[in-house]
Subunit: 407 residues, 2 copies
């Protein structure tokens, strides 16, 4: 058995980022840049007003109150032709280009316009050149790298790319991921179910996880527990970047997936991991396709999916693939000392009286219970040989529900 | 001006959840259930083994070591015909149905099989009926509501729905959202740009935010700053659930969007909000379509999008739409006392030496700077009239990047 960290490192080493494709900015959300994105514009391209008011020469409002001559009007998108002379002002609006000769803006609340003039009151406050002006390039300048290769694009990044005038982007191709659940004991939802069968849930859940992680799921159907079927169905993974098998690690006396796929060229990197839920995890390669074998228990399959499959997909998309970032919380109950396997306890997350997050572990941690996993907000991470801790002790958690309000 | 909380409450009151549609489980990730989802199966439907080993009668292994007669073999999906008698054992694997007469499982590590018998060692430990057995219904029982109406389906929920044998689900329809940026000063990325123009970024960023929030964005193009154009282009929102206008709140001396759309029937609920960045926010209705008017500054537009548009889309999808949940962090720098507007300071999030999150506010908080917003991890929330606090003081933040590892 190897550690969770070692397994993740070996998965990352065994994968390289996929090639790039050109996409429209309209399709860019969530994609990972395959190039440094430079600005094709300086933003703002010229000094603009930050407020609605009057463009002035700061020297003209050094002594207040004062009356200036109104010589123009500039809405956003417009321009005052000519240069502002001494004693002159131009009506200006937020985002509009500052006229030549002007170096500051008086906000309209501090003025009173009448008969082609504007009276500037003494309520203006601290004032000098640059007041209420956004100088050219304060956001970014032409040629500057605004977004770096390897960045997953947020909605904000999409806006920044637009502002940099980049309608097309090179991004890493989305990984194609073939999903192959195995087992005589499972039937697809809605399909006829034998008397000793249960309904298959892993394929559907992992397809959702794969899509949410930027991959393209391909369902190969359920492979029965015999080698010939497995070998035939695995051919559906040709051209995929990753084949995910589920279960079949311990059928009868042997590892069915490993032995059957071994006959058609599977090479196995590692096989078992010191974790709970989980343990029988396999990583290898079948021709050009990487293979990740997940355990068949639904909770184990999904937790391993989060810990290993998602980072694998990130790596293929050009992200670090470091795995989930543990976050600080307090234990909501005393936790027993841990054995040699890294434990991931299903728990609820509540905010304690002093505002800190408190993780309340569920009493039942059975790895077959989907309802408990679905109801969990986080996993409490218990490292191998972690000592017993009382309630209130700091622990690391991995959050499952969306705490972040992705923008 | 009204408060952020009042504005959000009024938006929620002004919207009702959309109707339902039937979708495949394969398309269910991220959708919001419009019905309570009951289990069509009991899971597990019968008692199953939790381990690889031997199904036994617990009474037979009360005194150890002992030797039992091997009378059968049950892989997952199989069944042992007949009833286990005294002194008998059946080879069994994880997930396989427990034979009649058996009430416990001895794990294979504690046994030694030979010549049609199995020797059970005295390493078994605490043992009794039910040991290493998953009883019928420990996950859920037929008829039980496994997932409630109003729940946004995670990957785990999709797995649970599958296990409950629900291939089809009724979910709330995705909101259709028409986007109408306004302004003579903006041009689309890649389009010709006039000498006084900048590149439009709000439409692209908000489309990404809308899609990420479960909506279907419809780009209406950029409306120039004249009433006739605005009225014509707003017709593109017919049949949409929500029209989002951007900018045009303060063009020249008047509110262009409000006045132009007012001529074709816009009714306005509220108009200005005590917040920064933001302030000129409009909520109203144009016929059957709700209207949300966002400010034109890119940072203001996106922050208001997160605070108001996203909850609006959640509300339309049958979620509470409570807005982002503030989370605890420590101020990374001293913060000045706040005025009467709720402030959202762009900040980086780092983990401090003791593990707590520390929010480091950016020095420049200009609402035109997309690069700063794109580089932020969170917004520090400063309520109206918040007193000055020193570095290290607890503050509430809204996280922007995905802290959660959505599963």
């Amino acid at each position: 058995m190897i550690s969770v960290a070692d397994a993740l490192a070996r998965i990352r080493e065994g994968l390289t980022p996929l090639g790039a494709e050109l996409i429209s900015l309209a399709d860019a959300y969530g994609r990972v840049l395959a190039e440094d994105l430079t600005a094709r514009r300086t933003q703002p391209p010229f000094a603009v007003s930050a407020m609605d008011g009057y463009a002035v020469r700061a020297a003209d409002v050094a002594v207040l109150p004062t009356r200036l001559k109104l010589v123009g009007y500039v809405p956003a998108g417009g321009r005052h032709e000519g240069t502002l002379g001494p004693g002159e002002a131009v009506r200006i609006f937020t985002g509009a280009r500052l006229p030549d000769g002007a170096d500051a803006v008086v906000i309209q609340e501090d003025t009173e316009a009448s008969d082609g003039t504007v009276l500037v009151h003494d309520t203006v406050g601290a004032f000098g050149p640059g007041r209420h002006v956004r100088q050219a390039g304060i956001d970014f300048v032409e040629g500057e790298v605004g977004l770096k290769a390897g960045r997953r694009l947020s909605a904000r990044d999409v806006g920044l790319a637009a502002a940099m005038n980049r309608p097309w982007l090179m991004v890493h191709r989305r990984p194609r991921v073939a999903i192959l659940p195995t087992g005589d004991e499972v039937a697809l939802p809605g399909d006829p179910i034998g008397p000793n069968q249960i309904v298959s849930s892993n394929g559907a859940a992992l397809a959702a996880l794969i899509a949410a992680s930027g991959g393209i799921p391909i369902q190969l159907g359920i492979a029965r527990d015999d080698g010939a079927t497995l070998k035939t169905m695995a051919r559906g993974a040709e051209g995929a970047d990753l084949l995910v098998t589920i279960g079949g690690a311990s059928v009868g006396e042997h590892d069915l997936v490993k032995s059957a796929l071994g006959e058609i060229g599977l090479t196995v990197d590692f096989w078992k991991i010191a974790m709970r839920p989980g343990k029988p995890l396999m990583f290898g390669r079948l021709g050009a396709t990487a293979v990740l074998g997940l355990p068949g228990n639904p909770v184990s399959a999904l937790v391993c999916g989060m810990l290993f499959l998602r980072p694998a997909l990130e790596r293929l998309q050009g992200l670090p693939g470091d795995g989930p970032l543990p976050e600080p919380a307090l234990a909501g109950a005393a936790l027993a000392a841990n054995d040699g396997r890294q434990d991931y306890l299903r728990a609820r997350l509540v905010r304690g009286p002093d505002g800190a997050w408190v993780a309340m572990p569920f009493e039942k941690q059975d790895s077959s219970m989907m309802s408990a996993l679905a109801g969990a907000d986080c996993l409490i991470v218990r490292p191998p040989a972690a000592p017993a801790v009382p309630a209130g002790a700091p622990v690391d958690v991995i959050r499952l529900s969306e705490g972040a309000y992705a923008l």
